[in-house]
Amino acid sequence: MTREVKIYTTPTCPYCRMAKKFLDDNGIKYQEFNIVEDKAAREEMKNKCSSLAVPTICFDNEMMVGFNEAELRKKLGL
């Protein structure tokens, strides 16, 4: 099953690095948006996901804020 996974990050956020490493290690393709540089992505994250924290991970109709390995595993069906 291929899903469109988007992850919104800041360069200084350790949980963003952990989340990306987890996605990489599990062969999940994703699009990353650095919300420090990408203002449009920042607004998209705030408005579409109504989140003001990183990492925000969005896929299909689901989203999660923060990095919780067990929960992400479940949501991605790993």
């Binding site: 800041t10 200084t12 690095r17 952990m18 919300i35 420090v36 705030k46 003001l52 924290a53 990183v54």
Partner: protein, 304 residues
């Protein structure tokens, strides 16, 4: 069955793992994450050998050193309870796994304390944050409040004055952090301090729009318009899984003696989760080493 289970993968747990591995103990390290609280630290300037290093980079180096040794590591699982068995100890994790060992070291560290005021939980990740280095950039050009008067709060305030429009620093007490940080924050032109003030409420519709604070002495209330609130009011020990089995002090820290022994034979503890004074990376690492050496000693006597 392992000889030793180390619970927690911060500086104490990882140092314990290296010492245990060098004693050739059959060891398991279980931790939700690798690096613990150090991951939230932007820069470390007091870990010997490095004049300056990013917290996450230092923990990467710790991890590389642990991985030199053939010990089992489980991450992404949290130990939810620990119990005593006839042969030693049994750790159950939140994913339902059970691990057994003859001895255990608890090194689960601390986590951020919450304010426990109305609105805090509702607006978590919607303006309320406990990770200033993660979420700070989201509030560029906006008004924010930093809550707390210690080093973490001062560091967050110092980071935010550079990117936010205005920063309010709200502390229950006078500032308690290092003078070098106090000087930096006091010299910022876009920062207002409310010392000896308490936070009453976090307000907003779908996201944070402001906070209500109150002067402890005059009881005068004041509303501050902010879109972000950074809570940096200290830490509480991650000792809940060990509550029934081992003695804790009134702060919830695991009581250890100077050899890292707890109230239960064969059960050791190290780092910020314990009652050892001074929560520092270098102290936690040293305590982890001591705990592993003592556990080795205990296991040696046990097998005689």
């Amino acid at each position: 069955m392992y000889e030793l289970i180390i619970i927690g993968g911060g500086p104490a747990g990882m140092t314990a793992a290296v010492y245990a591995a060098r004693k050739k103990l059959n060891t398991l390290l279980i931790s939700y994450d690798i690096g613990g609280q150090v991951l939230w630290t932007s820069g470390v300037e007091n870990y010997m050998g490095y004049q300056f290093i990013e917290g996450s980079e230092l923990m990467q180096k710790f991890q590389e050193q642990v991985k030199q040794f053939p010990i089992d590591i489980k991450t992404g699982e949290k130990v939810s309870s620990l119990s005593q068995t006839s042969g030693g100890f049994e750790a159950t994790t939140d994913t339902g796994e059970i691990y057994q060992a003859r001895a255990a070291i608890m090194a689960t560290g601390k986590r951020p304390r919450q304010l426990n005021v109305p609105g805090e939980e509702k607006f978590r990740s919607r303006g309320v944050t406990y990770c200033a280095i993660c979420d700070g950039p989201l509030f560029a050009g906006e008004n924010v409040a930093v809550i707390g008067g210690g080093n973490s709060a001062l560091e967050a305030a110092d980071d935010m004055v550079k990117i936010a429009d205005h920063v309010y620093l709200v502390s229950l007490t006078p500032l308690t952090g290092d003078q070098i940080l106090i000087d930096k924050v006091e010299s910022a032109s876009n920062l207002t301090m409310f010392l000896e003030h308490e936070v009453m409420e976090v307000k907003g519709e779908s996201r944070v729009e402001g906070i209500k604070i109150r002067d402890l002495k005059s009881k005068q209330e004041r509303a501050l318009k902010v879109s972000g609130i950074f809570i940096e009011i200290g830490l509480i020990p991650n000792s809940e899984p060990f509550k029934g089995i081992v003695r804790l002090n009134r702060l919830g820290e695991i009581e250890v003696n100077c050899a890292n022994e707890t109230s239960v034979l064969g059960l050791f503890a190290a780092g910020d989760v314990t009652n050892v004074p001074e929560k520092q990376i270098v102290v936690a690492a040293g305590e982890g080493a001591k705990a592993a050496l003592k556990a080795h000693h205990y296991l040696q006597r046990l097998s005689k």
